[in-house]
């Protein structure tokens, strides 16, 4: 039903050029997943075979060690530990980032002060300086402070590249908001807290949600800084994946881990889509 609707929508609205273009884009995005999925079920897959000559399931009972998905889903692969770490660090980073950036963005959007332009430029510095340079110098300091190899250390370094993005996003949202609604509420006798809770926040919500999810995605993808600060002791999905594929080949278990690594991002994107479209926009801007 839904499919037929979509099909007819495609037929009526898109020209054939647009359809081909859409298919090409879809091919570019989904294409790389196909060999990954096949590889994750392969035992021996050599050029020039189009498909693996031996599949994992044929060898499954013969091997004393878990192969392919058996390895990925076993505790030996540490995929579960890495996923938990990634989600935990991402959530805490997002929360702290919001707490820092909401007030900062408000000031940047509404107030004028001396050196504001320079300050805004200064805020984007972490995006300009290469991660490796920040990572190495911070590592030396963090080792002295005893923060290296701890969750706290990783969370702090994750704030460095995420804060500039979040501030820019929230500043834009605040700028678009205007003071009219808040002043209106105050005139009608609302307290500061009520204005914040009932007027400002609901109107900010779409921007906040988008910023938070973006921060979360950035945090879950940081490799170099996590690798330095975690010292190999705290593993996240990017560090786990890197240690698996650094050898330059993608065997079945590496392909499996790669597929698992994409799951949190896909789930989050789906949530964002729904939330921003239906809930946030619907209620926040529904005049």
């Amino acid at each position: 039903m839904a499919r037929r609707q979509m099909k007819s929508a495609l037929n009526t609205r898109l020209s054939s050029f647009q359809k081909i273009y859409l298919l090409l884009i879809a091919g570019f995005i989904l294409g790389p997943f196909i060999p990954l999925i096949i590889q994750s079920f392969a035992f021996r897959w050599a050029w020039p075979d189009m498909l693996p000559s031996t599949w994992w399931l044929e060898q499954r009972d013969r091997s004393i060690l878990p192969l392919a998905w058996d390895y990925v889903l076993s505790p030996y692969s540490r995929v579960w530990e890495a996923t938990l770490n990634t989600v935990f660090i991402g959530t805490v980073v997002t929360a702290i980032c919001l707490a820092i950036c909401l007030p900062a963005a408000r000031v940047l959007a509404r107030e004028k002060f001396k050196g504001k332009a320079a300050f805004e430029f200064f805020l984007s510095m972490p995006l300009i300086v290469p991660e490796a340079a920040i990572g190495i110098s911070l590592l030396m300091i963090f080792i002295k402070l005893g923060l290296a190899g701890s969750y706290l250390g990783i969370i702090i370094v994750h704030l460095i590249p995420t804060i500039p993005y979040m501030i820019r996003m929230l500043t834009a949202v605040y700028q678009g908001l205007g003071r009219d609604f808040e002043e209106q509420a105050m005139i009608l006798g609302a307290s500061k807290w009520q204005v914040m809770r009932l007027v400002t926040l609901p109107m900010l919500l779409p921007g906040v949600v988008a910023g938070a999810l973006f921060t979360f995605l950035v945090s879950t993808n940081i490799f170099l800084l996590t690798f330095f600060m975690g010292q190999g002791q705290i593993i996240t999905l990017p560090t786990l994946l890197f240690s698996k594929i650094a050898g330059g080949t993608l065997d079945a278990s590496a392909a499996g881990i790669t597929l698992v690594v994409t799951i949190p991002g896909i789930i989050l994107l789906l949530i964002t889509e729904r939330f921003i479209k239906e809930e946030a926009f619907g209620k926040g801007f529904g005049n």
Binding site: A46, P66, Y71, S77, G135, S243, G247
Partner: protein, 449 residues
Amino acid sequence: MKKTLISLSVTATLLANTAMAQDADAVAFRDAFLAGTATWEDVQARAAEEGAVNLYYWGGSDPINIWMDRVVTPDLAELGVTLNPVRITGTKDAIDLVLAEMGSGRGLGEGSVDAIWLNGENFATLQRQDALFGSFAGMLPNSGNVEWNEEDPRSLLNLRDFGVETNQAEMPWSGEQYVCATNTNRLASEDVPHTFAELLTYLQENPGKFTYVKPPHYVGNTFVQAAVYAHNPDGTGAEPFQSSIEDMGAEELARLIAPGLEYLKELDPYLLGAQSGNALYAEDNAALDGMFLNGEVDIACKFGLYAVATGLNNGTYPEGAEAFVFPEGNMIKNKNYLAIPANAPNPAATLIMVDYMTSVQAQVTKLQFTGMPPGVDPWTLTDEEVQALTDASPGLIGVTQAELDANTAPDTNASLVDVIEATWLEYIERDSTDSIDVIVARAVENLAQ
């Protein structure tokens, strides 16, 4: 990545002047243990108070990871030691971490690395920076499984690691040999080369069907060393390459390695991809395995005594793969080791872990799970223990142990490896027109700085 690590080590050296803090109890324990006044019961008592042992090891192999988690961790738990196996992508990362922490003033009992699986260059770095725990290996209960007697020539690999004296600051863990494999479905047995001259002839007829791992990767360095041994103008093979660069001198080294490098230069246009541009070298073992599996090359050489059996078992080698003797008389053999850094946070528990790793029981399960050959010396063991190791072995395919033993050569001194590697990069990779004498002299000078 490499650049960042270099700058990391530089920073570490700069900071090395800061005063070193140490845990006084740990220092007293170390001194007592190394002096032989602490008993094994003292070690066990202290280990019970210590935290989890952080063993840093290359984590790119599923079988090794499985063995660590499934066998080693529970076995050590029975001995009262909690193991924290830390998987790393490059051993150098662990070395950098140790040096950075020592540079930040963290001494014994206060670092974060308890033990590292390493050999060669990485061990030499720790030794040069005075970052090793001390001569512990001979003091462990299981040290009898390893030959330490200098008068026995078979002890060489335990006393010297790439020509650098180990001083028992690292414990042999696994012994390897540089072995080449071929795909018998593609290469008939009468065409299989056994000498460098035969390899060149084969490649002239079948251009592009071979490549080696690119130096400075140690597997690539080893191929270059084997070629240098085989073309030694004095005909003395590996023998002169056991002394350090200081003892040998740049001129003598240049004279000894020139024919080998000339050979490699001659080989270069027949390597993979060289017919349509520059020769393609494999970045590491895994990349070479991939080329071999895909039939891009007919021959793949790496440290892997049981690589063929293991590769067939996990699908990384093509069906029909077999090992063969190459190059005759110069199949380089070495060992890899477990070393304890000077700032290990849990020294006593780490000693128990290393002792466990040296036990026949651990060596047998390691062989069975991962195909890594034993690091203990069979002639020190009982017949039952040797039998257990033999039963656990995945087996040799295409060659016999006697053939391998008859063609063994030792590794090159670590100080020479650096120079040979730099010369290879300059002469072959960058196609320098300078003579080998000049390149070697320059490399020696650069490395001395």
